[in-house]
């Protein structure tokens, strides 16, 4: 009887290998149909009408001109709304025969407002209505008074958006009492939770299908208001309705990452060990959500720490989980202050972080090992210099370090694996592939378990009627699905082994599946081909379910949680123009057992690049008078391009000490450190701290002019 565990390193045929994603060809050729791409016979296009004001009483919503436009087939308006709280708040919708007509009709909806004063600015804690929340361990004031050196600094990062390339939305088809939905989601199993009661359809009549989705990053879990509106319009007309958000609305209301501005006071001993951290933080999550307040980041064992957090409610769209929620802001603020303290001590940054790694819980050795590897990879010893590059000319070069952590515990997940009498295999699981390669990993785990090549396993995901699997958020997917798939495949295999044990003359638990055959583990020549083994099933396929129960799978060492990572950035700053250029960046990352090395590295590269993007470019710019987001587009809301990222190096911590921990999620951790590492590198290059992200030329030049350039 095969046990549910991971094969030893020398026995792995697929796990840990570099394998190209199975749906790569579909994606590169346009054959992959995303939710946005679903076209149904007779489909209508829906467009939203959203608030033009950040705060206003809604006096009336008049749809008459819109519905009178030829081609308009249905409309919806918010009957309950009395007040709008942010620009972009959904008020009404129209559905029409063509996208052009729907767009034009939406502009014909007349909304009468009585505007009132709104709060837009998020950088002034005096505007907060919420009471600050305070937390303290040890005695901060005393420790600061006793410290050999004290550093105080201000740091901040603005609100940024998810900017998923496929906007939020869905195609909805209400037909014969059933609601079929193709949403763009990271939560196939439970996207439709409670949608039934919202649109008066029995929940058991709703089915969800999402084969491909174009990015979520934490913002695509629930059906949202547009899900309800799409279903309503489809019910009204009996026709399929496509409702995808326009880019500007997407940027305004489909989620964002809260801002965080902080004043940090640090105390340390002469040798560099930090003894006290005092953080006052404020920021906004728009009309809803929280702000980052878990300071100091990763250095939880600093004996004296105090945090005062003040959330500023603003009349702006609400925040949503953004890849590694809160961690990038916490990391940027803490690591920047720490690096500034190292500079104040005239201490080498690497040495400083090595020493203070002792203040992290349980993971000091991992961080220290990773710091060493990262330093070697980037040539730290050859390149490092104290703050302020003394080289001649306007181009100054510098290095910056950061460290981060994440949980990555697998979510609850169920999978069915079927072995057919003809030897073919299928796995069904209501998970989703956000681009991390879930489809590929399901196939790899099942194929590995059954001793088959990858292409023998048909993987079916993305449908709510398949066995339920968790939402893809918080790096929980790979841990969850790898265990459910491994378990289902093992259970199915065991049934097959039982079936052939008589024929091979040994008990089932003396058998294994390997190389396309079932064989006696102790005597491999006693074997039967996979095909013959399956043929012995007669007419009945085997279908077995596997379940991941978080906690249980951790006890069994199938999964784990808690990883550490280190990143070092090498940048150049043109002090005459303020332009920051990425030269190189290295990431050293721990993630337990790697399922697919190629895809795992892609996650880390992706995290680095997304991190470079928010470090250098991203900022939601709001107009304080109108409450509008001025750059709700992709022109002035900038994403890094191919030529902006420099040379990237990734080192995965693999080997016995790491992969013995089981599978751990990897999506979030690598995106946490880049802001801090790059900001520290800029400070190292030009000798002064540019306090706020993103590190744009205007911020660099303004800082240089205020702080007097090279220190």
């Amino acid at each position: 009887m095969a046990k549910v565990d991971w094969p030893a390193a020398d026995k792995r045929t697929l796990l840990g290998k570099r394998i190209s994603r199975v749906d790569g060809p579909a994606k590169t050729t346009g054959a992959a149909k995303y939710s946005f791409d679903i076209n149904r016979p007779g489909m209508l296009w829906a467009k939203l009408v959203t608030s033009a004001h950040p705060k206003a009483e809604v006096v009336s919503i008049d749809l008459s001109a819109a519905t009178a436009l030829p081609g308009v087939k249905a409309s919806w308006k918010d009957e309950q709304v009395k007040e709008v709280q942010y620009v972009g708040q959904i008020l009404a919708a129209v559905a029409a025969e063509t996208e052009e007509i729907a767009t034009e009709a939406a502009r014909l909806v007349r909304v009468e407002y009585k505007p009132s004063e709104a709060i837009i600015r998020d950088s002034d804690p005096a505007l907060a209505k919420d009471k600050p929340a305070a937390r303290e361990q040890g005695k901060v004031e005393e420790a600061l008074a006793k410290a050999d050196v004290v550093h105080t600094g201000n740091y901040g990062c603005p609100v940024i958006t998810h900017c998923c390339l496929e906007s939020h939305g869905q195609v909805t088809d209400f037909k014969d009492g059933e609601l079929l939905v193709w949403p763009s989601t990271q939560n196939v199993s439970r996207w439709a939770d409670r949608l039934g009661e919202a649109v008066d359809v029995p929940q058991n009549k709703i089915r969800v299908d999402c084969q491909y989705m174009g990015g979520g990053f934490g913002s695509k879990f629930a059906y949202d208001r547009w899900g309800m509106i799409g279903a309503t319009l489809s019910k009204q007309t009996g026709r399929p309705v496509k409702l995808m958000l326009e880019r500007d609305v997407e940027m305004l209301i489909a989620g964002n990452r809260p801002s965080a501005y902080a004043k940090v006071k640090l105390g340390a001993q002469k040798d560099g060990l930090v003894t006290a951290v005092d953080t006052e933080v404020w920021g906004t999550s728009g009309v809803g959500g929280s702000i980052p307040d878990r300071f100091p980041y990763i250095f939880t064992e600093v004996p004296n720490a105090r945090t005062t957090a003040t959330r500023i409610m603003t009349n702006r769209g609400r925040a949503a989980a953004w890849r590694a929620p809160n961690h990038p802001q916490l990391c940027f603020i803490t690591m920047s202050a720490f690096a500034d303290l190292a500079a104040a001590l005239k201490m080498d940054e690497l040495e400083f972080f090595m020493k203070n790694a002792a203040l992290t819980k349980d993971r000091a050795a991992v961080y220290q090992e990773e710091l060493k590897i990262a330093a070697d990879l980037i040539g730290y010893k050859q390149k490092a210099h104290p703050r302020g590059d003394k080289a001649a000319g306007p181009i100054k070069r510098g290095l910056g370090i950061s460290m981060h952590t994440w949980g990555g515990r697998g979510h609850p997940s169920e999978c069915d694996v079927t072995i057919h009498p003809d030897g073919s295999v299928e796995a069904k699981i209501a998970t989703q592939d956000l681009g991390v390669g879930t489809r590929t990993c399901v196939g790899m785990v099942v194929a590995e378990t059954l001793g088959l090549p990858l292409d023998r396993v048909k993987v079916e995901i993305g449908r709510s009627e398949y066995p339920p699997s968790g939402a893809s958020g918080g790096s929980t997917t790979i841990g969850g699905i790898s265990v459910s798939c491994r378990t289902a495949a093992t259970n199915a295999l065991n049934a097959l082994l039982e079936n052939v044990s008589k024929r091979l003359g040994v008990a089932a638990d003396a058998l294994e599946a390997s190389g396309g055959a079932i064989r006696e583990t102790a005597k491999p020549s006693n074997q039967i081909s996979w095909k013959d083994a399956c043929a012995s099933l007669g007419p009945n396929p085997i279908t077995k379910r596997g379940v991941n129960v978080p906690g249980d799978s951790e006890k069994a060492n199938l999964t784990s949680q808690g990883v550490g990572g280190v990143q070092i950035a090498d940048v150049s700053v043109d002090i005459e123009t303020g332009v920051v250029t990425m030269n190189e960046m290295v990431a050293v990352q721990d993630c337990g057992l790697v399922v697919n090395l190629k895809l795992a590295e892609s996650q880390v590269y992706g995290g680095l690049i997304m991190g470079i993007t928010y470090a250098l470019f991203e900022e939601a710019v709001y107009d304080v008078r109108t409450g509008q987001m001025l750059n709700a587009d992709m022109e002035f809301y900038r994403l890094a391009g191919l030529q902006d990222v420099g040379t990237l190096k990734v080192h995965m911590m693999t080997g016995k000490d790491y992969d013995g921990r089981g599978v751990i999620g990897l999506g979030e951790p690598p995106v946490i450190s880049p802001g801090a590492a790059i900001a520290n590198a800029v400070a190292n290059a030009c000798g002064v701290r540019v306090p706020n992200l993103p590190l744009t030329p205007e911020r660099v030049l303004t800082t240089l002019s205020q702080k007097g350039g090279l220190a």
Binding site: R107, E576, T577, D623, R625, L630, D633, F636, P697, L701
Partner: protein, 324 residues
């Protein structure tokens, strides 16, 4: 966008006949890279659109009598690929290449670059050319990091978005436009751009019933170059640009022209910088003097003083590039 009627005439004369006497009712469509976006943003809502795609006389580059004549619907890619442009007008070539997106270069036209509307985010978000709400200037009161530091005494605070304008002015180009009956007139590039005094006006001297037909660039052997301060590589707007041109007589700069981009509602000719460069030796000291002079007199708004430093760097680097 609103629906519109469409025409694609075959001659300039026919095209001009289809235009109106006032702005907004009819728009001219060349590559469409600005106009189609402007239509979607409701920056303009014409009832009619005249496409230039079938007008052969507007296409291509030819040389004539010591000048290069660039048809208005010549694509930016064709401009870059032209050998004379690459060799003799680096200021123009660099500016075009700076646009950074093959998709735009392949479709966007030279005439379209000169006639495109400003990118001011208040303008593009529905607050008119001047970014006003009632009497209030949203630009002055709000986030004006990308706005004008010169020529901003009036209500126009946007920056002219043209990539080619500054270089064409430096090179002494002339712009030909055709009006009623196909009659043409010629305007120096330096006079083509204007600062509107009312939000209903446009940013060039083109009249509503005129079409830009060609650009004539004299091949005078000027040393010339453009430097663009850019953050993101690839498609993006530069923060500040400087185009310079001058004659080099032995070791002396003569007849210097310095035109800044992205700093004013028009490409900004810096007489002070020209003066600072004239009769200077072609070296870094002179180049720096030119930069300092170009930046003098800037009147930054609340959030764009950083551009002054960029002007200094851009002019200095453009001069050094032109010398090299």
């Amino acid at each position: 966008m609103k629906s519109f009627a469409y025409a694609a005439p075959k001659t300039v004369k026919e095209a001009v006949a289809l235009l109106d006497d006032s702005w907004g009712a009819t728009e001219v469509l060349a590559g469409g890279t600005d106009l189609v976006t402007s239509l979607k943003q409701h920056v303009t809502e014409p009832q009619r659109v005249v496409s230039l795609k079938n007008i052969k006389e507007l296409k291509g580059i030819r040389s004539k009598g010591g000048s290069l004549i660039i048809g208005a619907t010549t694509t930016l890619a064709e401009l870059i690929e032209n050998r004379d442009v690459a060799r003799k007008f680096p200021a123009l070539s660099i500016a075009a290449q700076g646009i950074g997106s093959p998709q735009l270069l392949n479709v966007g036209t030279v005439g379209g670059d000169l006639c495109q509307r400003p990118r001011c985010w208040f303008f593009r978000n529905g607050h008119g050319l001047f970014g006003q709400q009632g009497e209030t200037s949203l630009v002055r009161e709000g986030d004006n990091r990308y706005h004008a530091i010169f020529g901003n005494d009036g209500p126009a605070l946007f920056v002219n978005p043209s990539s080619l304008g500054p270089a064409l002015i430096v090179l002494g180009a002339e712009i030909t436009v055709a009006g009623a009956g196909g009659k043409t007139r010629t305007v120096p590039a330096a006079e083509f751009f204007r600062t509107p005094k009312a939000a209903t006006e446009r940013e060039t001297v083109l009249r509503p019933n005129e079409i830009l037909t060609e650009i004539t660039v004299p091949m005078k052997g000027l040393k010339n170059a453009t430097y663009e301060v850019r953050h993101r590589h690839g498609l993006d707007w530069p923060y500040v640009t400087a185009s310079v041109g001058f004659n080099l007589k032995g070791r002396q700069i003569e007849e210097a022209q310095v035109v800044l981009g992205q700093v004013a509602p028009v490409p900004w000719r810096s007489a002070a910088a020209s003066l600072a460069l004239d009769r200077g030796t072609p070296d870094e000291t002179t180049a720096s003097k030119g930069g300092e002079a170009a930046a003098a007199g800037a009147k930054p708004l609340s959030g764009n003083a950083y551009k002054i430093q960029m002007v200094k760097a851009a002019v200095k680097r453009a001069v050094l590039a032109a010398i090299a």
